[in-house]
Amino acid sequence: MNRLALFLLASLAWPQDLLTRGAAVFAKSCATGYCHGLKGAAAGAPRLAARGFDEAHISNVTSNGVPGTAMQAFASILPERDLTAVVAYVASLNGITPRAGRTPAADPPKPSLPPEAARGRALFFDSTRGLARCSTCHQVDGFGIPVAGPMAKIPGGVPELRELRTPHVRMATLDGESFPALIVTPGSRRTTFYDLTTPPPVLRTVDSSDLKIGEAAAWSHAIVLGSYREEELAAILTFLRAVVRP
């Protein structure tokens, strides 16, 4: 379709195939469950039809979500073509006609990990291992719990990973019991630390006078890697080398 033809069509209404696609995406991703209801008629989430929204608002909320509510940022969930289509569909529910000269963008190429790194990624975040997975303590690639700080250096191999100690882990004594602790905020009155006795780490705050912080603990990664086999750990290291920029 040439530019003029597109302009003429667009100045009348949204392209029908765009709206059809948008309606399908809406039905699957927006109308379901406790969300916006069929045709945006309202369900658990606000009504979207005939609200007087403008297109920029619809596009912004759809793409970026609404912090603090259940409205997700669909720019990171939907392919761009679907995002454009669903914005057009919601705009049509608000009686908005399209701006001229727009055309749905093609999907951008997805950056993909090499197979071994992708396998390592799945293992790093593997929920079937429950709390015995790397992401219980590490945040990488926007997921996981940042108990440990950003990784400074990826171990060269599995034996080094097993032996890897964290210099910040100390033996702490509290209520007559000693355990490995990662000190977060030492203070003269109160101290905050992660109790590493058993996963998941517990962020505890106690009166500094009750806590004795001792020598570096004999804690090493070997203690928490029990759910992974040797070659699985190798795949995880491959993943980390691919995504971590120390």
Binding site: S29, Y34, A43, P67, T69, Q72, S127, D195, V202
Partner: protein, 545 residues
């Protein structure tokens, strides 16, 4: 006629007493979850004189105020949707401390909602919108410990229910039943926050019950534990309702009974090991969770004294179980419109299942919001009756095949809410004999009742409606005796307590929640129902007692 059941009830009261007294220590009142108070200063003869004595506005309006306030030693502990916790002087409303939880900077799975805190070991425990469990010093409001239960961004789950304190542990469930997620309960030691045990509601490979899931479907099969359980100290058993199987409406990829989704499970309080389960809805395709409260009471059933567990399923049926063994003892409907089954057989089987069809709308009653929502029933030992808020809404279910994507919405179709055959949607609050299921009276209501029921020894029931009225009914007749306009609708749970001989009734008010907002799809005027977030407290005037 009246004295006979009363005697039985008195006998049972000695066996297990689930009544609260001056305090309201647990989510369900006591760990037996009766939502019943032995206080009777406010009663059927004087409730008309009730006046507001203080109000506390939290300022946190999003999704309304859904909590059950916890009351201990003259202090109210109240949580808001964004996990702000307040300690308030229960006689005056004066703030004692506030625990400020960081406000979210990113979207929140299922939206921010919180149904209450638990107290124990000198701490206040709260589950958070971003999936942490926090322990707060009960005296100072300072955080003592904080532990992540799961990565909310990955699991599509978080915590909205109140934790349950059991012995030296605090147990917490989570949402995620409409996401590609595998549910669990987690217990932490109150003192240190360290993990005590975790129980997965869906057995993993090699575990008994895993064979009831086709292929890998167990990995994302739902079974969320999003409400609060109960505890029987004598049996040392924790009881918890488990949510729907996922994908909610499409079971083609999970052929089998799908244990222990849609079940009540009984766990050893110390180890978290399962002692028994009872699955109410095998292979659920209606989103009929078994997540709701487990009410523990002792009553005679067919001539034999039994330790009972009363449990309302989202499908609108009340199940009667023996809580020692999990044996099925009976079931009765609490909705007037149901067609997903024709009934439940004497041995607990679902008869005449009407299931959704792929790609085609099938009208099912009740709807996926439930024959009852999560707002809780009450049990009064004085009447022997349970008091249930029932919802008469149907829906067109359309099933669709859906690939599981971890943490993403996993409904497997859609629902469109609508009216029952031949009339407008409606609801009713009823009294049922807890054992026989015989309805004693019914209180009809135009919209749907989404606040919990509070029963008292003054033979009163308290609850609120979406229009903002907080009201009292006569527990024996259902007659409305008193009502007060609080300015916003009710989606929380009222409690009662006593300080220096004066009885107070406290109710959260503040319209919101996913189901609450969905009312606009059924009644357009519901879009004008105003939000809010206030705790309103009532008592008899000084001198009138």
């Amino acid at each position: 006629m009246r004295s006979f059941p009363l005697l039985l009830v008195l006998a049972s009261a000695y066996a297990q007493n689930g009544a609260t007294h001056d305090d309201w220590p647990h989510y369900g009142g006591t760990q037996l979850s009766w939502r019943y108070s032995a206080l009777d200063q406010i009663n059927t003869s004087n409730v008309q004189k009730l006046v507001p004595v203080w109000a506390f506005q939290t300022g946190d309006y999003e999704m309304g105020l859904q909590a059950t306030p916890i009351v201990s030693d003259g202090v109210v502990y109240l949580s808001t949707s964004h996990n702000q916790v307040y300690a308030l002087d229960a006689a005056t409303g004066r703030p004692i401390w506030q625990y400020k939880y960081p406000m979210p900077t990113t979207p929140v799975v299922y939206g921010p909602q919180n149904r209450g805190v638990a107290i124990g070991d000198g701490k206040v425990f709260e589950g958070t919108y971003d999936n942490y469990l926090v322990a707060i010093d009960q005296k100072t409001g300072r955080e003592v410990w904080k532990v992540n239960v799961d990565d909310a961004r990955q699991c599509g789950c978080n915590i909205t229910g109140a934790p349950l304190v059991v012995k030296d542990k605090v147990i917490v469930g989570g949402t995620g039943g409409d996401s590609a997620h595998r549910g669990y309960l987690t217990a932490f030691y109150m003192k240190t926050g360290r993990l005590a045990w975790r129980f997965y509601t869906i057995p993993g490979p090699g575990e008994k019950g895993n064979e009831t899931w086709k292929g890998d479907s167990w990995k994302f099969g739902g079974g969320a534990t999003w409400m609060t359980g109960s505890f029987d100290p004598a049996l040392n058993l924790v009881y918890w309702g488990v949510g729907n199987a996922a994908a909610d409406l499409y079971a083609g990829d999970r052929e089998g009974a799908n244990l222990y989704a849609n079940s009540v499970v009984a766990l050893d309080a110390d180890s978290g090991k399962m002692r028994w389960y009872y699955q109410e809805v095998p292979k659920d395709v209606w989103d009929f969770d078994s997540s709701y409260e487990c009410v523990l009471l002792d009553r005679e059933v067919r001539g034999r004294m039994r330790k009972l567990l009363i449990h309302v399923n989202k499908g609108g049926f009340t199940f009667l179980l023996d809580r020692v063994t999990g044996e099925f003892l009976g079931a009765y409907p609490i909705v007037e419109n149901y067609n997903w089954i024709s009934g439940i057989t004497e041995d607990g089987k679902l008869a005449g299942r009407k299931e959704p069809v792929e790609g085609k709308a099938v009208n099912i009653c009740p709807s996926a919001i439930g024959g009852k929502s999560w707002n809780q029933i009450a049990y009064s030992p004085r009447t022997g009756w349970i008091y249930t808020p029932s919802i008469e809404v149907c829906n067109d279910l359309i099933a669709n095949h859906q690939e599981a994507q971890e943490g993403r919405s996993f409904i497997g179709g859609n629902w469109v809410m609508g009216a029952p055959p031949g009339r407008e949607p409606y609801s009713h609050l009823d009294a049922y004999d807890a054992v026989t299921g015989k309805r004693q009276w019914t209180f009809p209501y135009k919209y749907i009742l989404l606040a919990s029921i509070l029963a008292t020894a003054g033979d009163l029931l308290f609850t609120g409606d979406p229009e903002g009225f907080f009201f009292a009914l006569d527990a024996r007749t259902g007659a409305k005796l008193w009502s007060f306009q609080t300015g916003s609708g009710h989606r929380g749970s009222a409690v009662t307590y006593s300080i220096n001989g004066r009885q107070y009734v406290a109710t959260p008010t503040g319209w919101g929640s996913l189901v609450g907002r969905g009312l606009a799809g059924l009644w357009p005027e519901a879009e004008t129902f105003r939000g809010g977030s206030t705790l309103m407290v009532f008592a008899l005037p000084e001198g009138a007692r």
